[in-house]
């Protein structure tokens, strides 16, 4: 599964089941994550990707890992500027005073740092625009910028390429590859997934039905994730 | 739920019924100037006494302000009222032929105390000390004779200025007992109040003489009185006014008199209150 000797194990799930009331969302999940892995979760909507990501997030945080997180509903503070939304990525790493001061009047050093990240995402022009005034694709990139600014080694992202054109999506994947040692990303675009993943996990009905290295997978192998076996094309 | 609703219905009907029976009731009120707690119980005793003596239904209704007492008198919701000097004058101006019929023994020569907080260094003196200028000052209720009218009259008389100009601040505490509490706490430096309230509080041990003391007392003036509407004879029969007057003057039971609190009632007439009317005109409370 890896080719660098014995990398650190980040997390292990053994027979984990998550249910809301009587509705089982994740069914007997067995999963091990290692440092340095780039994992993509594939599955139809409702297959349990988001729930699994949230569960991974909680477990990793409980293990005292620093995580960058891009949720599906971006969780942006719409009334605040792009600058502030990105700045949020590092609130816990700075003093309260710094945070308060930058809320009222952004300091030059932070402006520069964030401006740099935004340039890579072609958002530099919008540094001080309120996020609520941006388009869906731009907001998606703000959420990504926040994750990048956090400077964590692990990224968990739920459909981070939604609303992005192919070029921007590729750029984003490159940035993710460059900035995070490990990542778990839920995607629905198979091509995009294959371009970044070194391991693919397929979910269906809350169960893991596929867990393999990307290089070993053919497009046909992914079919069961999206289609019923007997109606396969 | 049904039981609850039925009980409610019974209560409501009961109230309604009592109200209807009370249609021919002679009603009186009293301005809220003295100890209000348990006021209703005390005045209900007075109502019982009057009811027995006059042989008609008599009921007491409580009011909260001088203005409300006057308004109730004017709108014939009460036919008899225990007014202060000023509120009595105001009420009788609004209701034709109404008259003052009795006053308390003490009301023939009522007076106001000016009191001051110890931090002012003011001491009792035969005239109002000049040093009270520019201090903070509180009256009692706006419509009170002893807490507003007379003290304002004497302040203007001596300093030839309105209280607003004379003092740094002029408050209206609401009543005599609040005036005392506020001056004793030093919130206001000087205040003016009904001398009977001061005496009662002193007796009850609620005054700390190291903090507050009387610095001047006004000359005497007529104050509280019973006033009756002019049309009661037409409703309850010829001579009803005289009967009510007699009943009041003959009220000797200390338990009843404690409601006011007065030692006895003596006859009074509208002309007794001429000085009050003139004073009110002088300081512009009455046009």
């Amino acid at each position: 599964m890896n080719n660098q000797g014995s990398p650190k194990k980040l997390l292990s799930l053994a027979d984990e089941t998550i249910a809301y009331g009587s509705k089982v969302v994740l069914d007997e999940i067995n999963l091990h994550l290692h440092d340095g892995e780039r994992i993509v979760l594939l599955g139809k909507s409702g297959s349990g990707k988001s729930t699994l990501l949230k569960h991974l997030y909680q477990t990793l945080v409980n293990n005292d890992e620093t995580i960058a997180w891009i949720p599906q509903r971006l969780g942006l503070t719409e009334k605040l500027s792009v600058f502030h939304n990105v700045f949020i990525g590092r609130l816990d790493q700075q003093s309260r005073f710094t945070n308060l001061r930058n809320l009222l009047w952004p300091a030059q050093e932070h402006r520069q740092a964030i401006h740099g990240i935004l340039q890579e995402l072609s958002l530099a022009e919008e540094l001080f625009s309120p996020v609520g005034t941006l388009s869906g694709g731009q907001q998606q990139r703000v959420a990504a910028a926040r994750a990048l600014y956090r400077q964590a080694s692990i990224l968990l992202a739920d459909e981070p390429a939604t609303g992005l054109d192919q070029g921007s999506a590729k750029t984003l994947m490159t940035l993710i590859e460059k900035n995070f040692g490990s990542c778990v990303i839920a995607l629905h675009d198979v091509d995009l997934a294959m371009s970044i993943a070194d391991r693919i996990i397929g979910l269906r009905g809350g169960k893991i039905i596929l867990d393999a290295l990307a290089v070993d997978l053919s497009p046909e192998a992914l079919a069961p994730i999206y289609h019923d076996a007997n109606t396969a094309p | 739920m049904f039981k609850f609703a039925r009980t409610l219905g019974c209560i409501a009907f009961g109230l309604l019924f009592t109200r209807l029976c009370l249609a021919g009731t002679f009603v009186f009120t009293a301005i809220p100037d003295e100890d209000e707690t348990r006021l209703k119980a005390r005045f209900d005793q007075v109502a019982t006494y009057l009811s027995k003596t006059l042989a008609v239904d008599v009921r007491y209704v409580p009011v909260k302000s001088y203005a409300a007492a006057v308004a109730a008198f004017r709108s014939d919701q009460v036919q008899l009222a225990w007014f202060g000097g000023l509120s009595g004058v105001q009420a009788r101006r609004l209701v034709p032929n109404s008259q003052a019929i009795a006053q308390g023994e003490e009301d023939q020569s009522f007076k106001t105390y000016f009191i001051a907080h110890s931090s002012t260094g003011l001491k009792a003196s035969p005239t109002l000390p000049k040093k009270i200028a520019d201090l903070s000052f509180t009256f009692g209720s706006k419509g009170s004779t002893s807490g507003r009218l007379m003290p304002e009259f004497y302040l203007r008389k001596q300093f030839a200025r309105s209280p607003e100009v004379l003092f740094k601040q002029v408050g209206f505490s609401g009543n005599h007992s609040r005036t005392l509490a506020l001056v004793q706490a030093g919130a206001y430096q000087v205040g003016a109040l009904n001398y009977k309230v001061w005496d009662n509080e002193l007796k009850a041990g609620r005054i700390d003489s190291s903090k507050v003391s009387v610095i001047w007392e006004t000359p005497t003036y007529p104050d509280y009185q019973w006033s009756i509407r002019g049309d009661v004879d037409a409703i309850w029969g010829e001579g009803f006014t005289a009967k009510v007057t007699e009943a009041l003057l003959n009220m000797k039971d200390p338990a009843l008199l404690a409601a006011f609190p007065r030692s006895a009632f003596v006859p009074a007439s509208n002309s007794d209150y001429k000085p009050i009317l003139n004073t009110a005109r002088t300081i512009g409370i009455i046009d």
Binding site: R73 | S136, Q184, G186
Partner: protein
Amino acid sequence: MNAKSYPLPTSVVTSLLFIASALLCWIFADLSIVTRTPWQEFFRMAAGVFSPQWLPWPELLSALAKTLAFGLLAVALSALVGFLLCLYFHKRGVKLFCASIRAVHELFWGLLFIQLLGLHPAAGLLAIAIPYSGIFAKVFAEIIEESETESASSLPPASDKVSQFFYEKWPRIKAHFASYTLYRLECGLRSSTVLGFIGLPTLGFHLESGFMQGNYGLVTAMLIMLYVLIASIRVWARFRLMPLYAGVAAFYLWAPLNIDSTLVLSLVHDMSPLPLRNTQTEWWPWFSNLSSTQIFPGALNTLLITQIALVLTGVFSLISFPLLSKQFFPRPTRSLSHLLMVMLRSTPEIILAFVFLLLWGPSMLPAVLALAIHNGAITSHLLARHSNELELRLDASRGINRYLYEVLPRIYGQFLAFLCYRWEVIMRETAIVGILGIHTLGFYIDSAFESFRLDVAVLLIAVSALMNICVDEVARRTRRRLHLVKQPLVRAC
């Protein structure tokens, strides 16, 4: 690198303008502090708090039942009248009428109707129902206005107005109407209590007696009853039960009313300006004398107190709402804070003002603090409700960072909207501070009633109505400037 400078958001600029106006008023306001010997009185208060003095059962129950009955019936009536008025709210005349009737504190309506009807229950009922109708009309009209922006009409264009209303508007706004009406109940119970101060036989009647005589045990007992009543609203108040409640209340309060036409005529006579009745009085001297002695000083003091109290209300609620919000504190802390806030917002301002007066002597300080705490506790409660509806990210920061970057920016617009609503309320409530020797318009209105100068009272009421209309207009423009028109429909009373 980038030449872009940081533009201050409109909401921040607006807040700074509010703060600047308060600071300007601060310069002219007397906020001095004098402390001498308040401890004896505080000791008596503390003793009272620890030994509440309960009234005998029948009296207590009757006061409680009447507080409920007046509040319920008045709110039900005014919701109905407000609903009818709101349908014509686009007419300028109706709008002005509503602004005028809600500009006057219910205490003054009470004083007016006591003059007219004596101590009849209708006096108390109208005193609450009239200003509340004006408030309901305004809020209902805004609810309708906001619902119209939601979507274009899907009904056939030729449908008649009545059908249009009930098929299209009503389903959309019903829930908002219901929730606002229930919310208003709390205000109604408070008003019904406060009217006890001028003679309504509610809890406030005994509360005032106790307070005026320094019987703090009685004050405590009455306040506890009021707190329980207010805190229990959510248990028994249901929109569908309102007609039933109102019916029972009406039955309970009903009393025959005889209006004496000669009395009404003489009151109308008294209300007409003195120069009209008395040929010896000239118009101009009469008016200019009133202007220089009452109208101008009154209006100025009212404005000073309002602006400072408004900003302090904002500060108080911003600091205190996290205590009530699930974004910040666990349930036990929140329940405790909730209780505290019920106490702060239900205690009549005059009692708060009195406590501060004892502490710091007479100045505007006790007044602005009393107003700020009372109104701040209300806004705080509403802000917390609003913040509870926010969904934050899994990785949202905690503590002060969450407050600054996640919650505050999201609710700040609503916060300013609440303050805009509180603005006219605070202005109306400045009437209560006569005890502090501060001569607001309300103080002069009260004096006019006390000396039976109904013409002056009516004139001063008209002036406060005018000020209220101005403040309302500025508040409306502010909200529009901040694009707050389409904010979620939670409002203050």
